[in-house]
């Protein structure tokens, strides 16, 4: 993949917005004052970062845990290697899956090559959704498991660092 190098102004915009936009009637205007540029420039830069994929989306960032999504499981699937792309796309399109990844197998310890993070209000709902995936994959699903999280031991947000 192509590395997206942030120029200095983009980096300053990222730093100024990564903790959220100010909840004021004209948030871009407020940012512009802080950054000593115009509001139009802030919006244009953000629009371009959105188009190039540096920004995935702009909006309310829900805290799913507080919202009641207490069940989440890492479902792992063993599908034929030549089907992994097709299966990955099928899974990635499901609205209860937040992440779907192809990862290497690690035989004989680990036979699974497809990972999907599944979310639900509780464990039972997650299991039900995992069953939905199993049906969707049909014969391509040679085996699967769901790993529920017991404890979070460390969580550091991926943040762009200011100094670099």
């Amino acid at each position: 993949m192509v590395d997206k190098i942030l120029d200095d102004l983009n980096r300053r915009i990222v730093l100024a917005t990564q903790a959220g936009l100010p909840l004021v009637p004209e948030p871009y205007q407020q940012l512009a004052r802080e950054l000593d540029i115009t509001a139009d420039e802030v919006m244009q830069r953000m629009q371009r970062m959105l188009e190039s994929g540096i920004i995935r989306r702009i909006g309310a960032v829900p805290n799913h845990y507080t919202l009641g999504f207490r069940g989440n499981g890492m479902s792992v699937w063993d599908v034929p290697d030549e089907q992994v792309k097709r299966c990955g796309r099928l899974i990635g399109d499901l609205d209860f899956v937040s992440h779907a990844y192809h990862r290497p197998r690690h035989l004989p310890r680990w036979r699974y090559n497809l990972f999907a993070m599944v979310h639900g209000r509780d464990r039972a709902e997650v299991e039900q959704k995992v069953d939905t995936i199993a049906v969707l994959l049909g014969e391509h699903n040679r085996a699967h498991e769901t790993l529920f999280s017991k404890r979070i031991l460390k969580k550091t947000g991926l943040r762009f660092k200011g100094e670099r």
Binding site: D3, P25, P27, F148
Partner: protein
């Protein structure tokens, strides 16, 4: 190489349990619409909250008030851009099978690495799962080796091959 983008909002320490259908029972219909319709497409215009208000049939003042309230109650962490993890450097999802009595000690050792951003205990024979992100592959191998050395346990490394999901937020009330 792509950098792991892992769930961060979803695995938080337990908070006060809320009765009913999860905490969402405490949300008004307008708050639910705000959350459902504006995880994406927040307007890039001079007065974005006024535009949202127009879509929702309410006032700018009300939208700002509701968003502040959602944030205070912890239902949203912020309103703003969600950035794609930087695609520079190397990363992997690693797993290790740790005996229960050693778990806290080994978890603390692993967590002490700045390169480890996430570490979860999972309900599985492979019970420790963590993400390592480094500036280059060499450092990644070094961190893996150091962890193997310290623990005396094999660490399974599962670097991302391909990601299939485009994160546009997800439906909360489907």
């Amino acid at each position: 190489m792509a950098v792991e983008s892992h769930i961060v909002e979803l695995l938080l320490p337990p908070v006060e349990p809320v009765a009913g259908q999860g905490a969402t029972a405490g949300l008004t219909p307008l708050e639910k619409r705000l959350l459902d319709e504006f995880q994406n497409n927040f307007p890039l215009s001079p007065t974005p909250f006024a535009e949202m208000a127009q879509c929702l049939g309410t006032s700018e003042e009300q939208v700002l008030y509701l968003l502040e309230g959602l944030q205070e109650r912890g239902f949203i962490s912020r309103v703003g851009p969600v950035f794609k993890p930087r695609q520079i450097g190397a990363s992997t999802l690693a797993a290790v099978s740790v005996p229960a009595y050693k778990l806290d000690n080994i978890a603390a050792y692993i967590n002490a690495f700045d390169e480890v951003n996430h570490n979860y205990e999972r309900d599985h024979r492979l019970n420790l799962w963590f993400v390592i992100t480094t500036p280059d592959q060499e450092r990644l191998e070094q961190v893996l080796a150091e962890i193997e050395n310290y623990t005396g346990l094999p660490v399974m490394s599962l670097p991302l091959v391909k990601s299939f999901h485009i994160d546009l937020g997800f439906s909360l009330w489907c």
